[in-house]
Symmetry: C2
Subunit: 323 residues, 2 copies
Amino acid sequence: MARRGNLMSVRHDIKVLDCTIRDGGLCNNFEFSDEFVRELYKTNVKCGVDYMEFGYKASRALFNEEEHGKWKFCEEEDLRAIVGDNISDMKISVMADVGRCDYKTDFLPKEESVIDMVRVACYIHQIPAAIEMIEYFHELGYETTCNIMAISQANDAQIDEALSMLAKSNVNVIYLVDSYGSLYPENAGDLIKKYLKAVEDTNKQIGFHAHNNQNLAFANTIETLSYGVSYLDTTALGMGRGAGNCATELLLGFLKNPKYSLYSLLTFIEKYMKPLRAEVEWGFDLQYMFTGQLNRHPREAIAFTDEKRTDYCEFYKGLLEND
Amino acid sequence: MARRGNLMSVRHDIKVLDCTIRDGGLCNNFEFSDEFVRELYKTNVKCGVDYMEFGYKASRALFNEEEHGKWKFCEEEDLRAIVGDNISDMKISVMADVGRCDYKTDFLPKEESVIDMVRVACYIHQIPAAIEMIEYFHELGYETTCNIMAISQANDAQIDEALSMLAKSNVNVIYLVDSYGSLYPENAGDLIKKYLKAVEDTNKQIGFHAHNNQNLAFANTIETLSYGVSYLDTTALGMGRGAGNCATELLLGFLKNPKYSLYSLLTFIEKYMKPLRAEVEWGFDLQYMFTGQLNRHPREAIAFTDEKRTDYCEFYKGLLEND
């Protein structure tokens, strides 16, 4: 499969999706101030970002509302307090996890909501459940994605079957999610070709969500984009769980479409992200590199970070013993 | 040109070259303690690193010895104070800049020196001068490389001519040097195929030296390696001028040859690099991203860092006005 376009060309199918509040919220329990979220919203509009994800629609039966910031639940009134009727060209998305979302009660019909797109996140064995949710959201009138997480631990047969099932569904976008930041550009490229092939006779698009455990989030994003991925997840200053995500500023500086602009984002980073970074930890460091190299969930690396440990060698030996 | 090997295979032609003291020395004026250099030497030996670069052989007529740490000059006695006769399997290199090195007086014949390899660094218009030096070092008995810097600002005709001249010389290794950290894996891959093609009928090898301005140092290193690059420059914790280099720990964790081991390096990083990082600044940040994206020398970004500025947007606007 050849690359689409080249390093100078504009690809009009590209959509940049900022998920700072959603993936970054995993670092600070979704406790962003309204000012922060409103300024990020205005910034994304000015920068030409195509979608902004505000958080999760998590089940209030499973998660106590008092123990989490409001962007874990993304209630309609909270969204509207930030975006009004969202008269901008930028669309709004929320994420719904399979098994952790009361989707039959917590979503309004699209015409009553400022939400444009629901992204259904699942592990590969949950594809049937994800499709049930996707069809429900489709009926309500939303755009939908299926974000298949932890893809580096799925096998080829599972991936083929999942893609074949999704290709027959009403989903709009299928995402490859490198949850553990363990993919190298070469495997990410090979995998994405499989995704692109699975939807070539449909009007579905492919997306990519990176993690930066091996400092490859941006590299994997532009590698997969070069083969035809259209939906690209980024976060301001790479804020996201553990090692974080592909930084919006890296991607906007790379894309050649003049609709994208860095200026407003730089002002936002200066005023909001750098101060936040002084309080909340995220980003590439050795402990995340280890879990990425070993293709493992970053939970032990997150605990190592939270405990402010610096005994990298002991930690690494411990990881290998657990294997 | 197809990739050589795959993500599981061992490539016996690969040589890892640690240039922490040399490129990292550009961050702290080469003022490393003897303990630091000695421990790094022992660490590199234990980790299976193939070459360790100790610094520059800079002209004492051009640079005052009292104003720089000793690794800017790499005198034989200073090297021997660290490595003795270097009875390890690891080889020792130094860098000699075209026009800034008194090469005819400052090098001993190989049999009297612990230095194994001299790396001649030049800009593309200095290739004839570089070749004269290379032939001199070859006569003295050293292995040689030619590190063509700032390659992202050279044009195709210049590169073709330079490679053709070097292919006829006695140089052992030709390096592509992404001085400005402006290459994407796609261009780095295209360029490196040109280098590999130029030496395919010789027994010369190709090397790659990355900078991390766009967080692509490791990605570009493994992309070029996949096409056949053998000599790979790295530094501990990515220490190097401005945004730094490809981190040794990332590369050693990627390579499949069991001769490479991370453990000792992790202990060294814990004990020496992390404390050093608290005193000396290097590594990916927005100001370096801008100069990388704009394919420019990082000097303004280094000044911005030294002045502890955080007005990223103003700085970026200023860069564009200078263009």
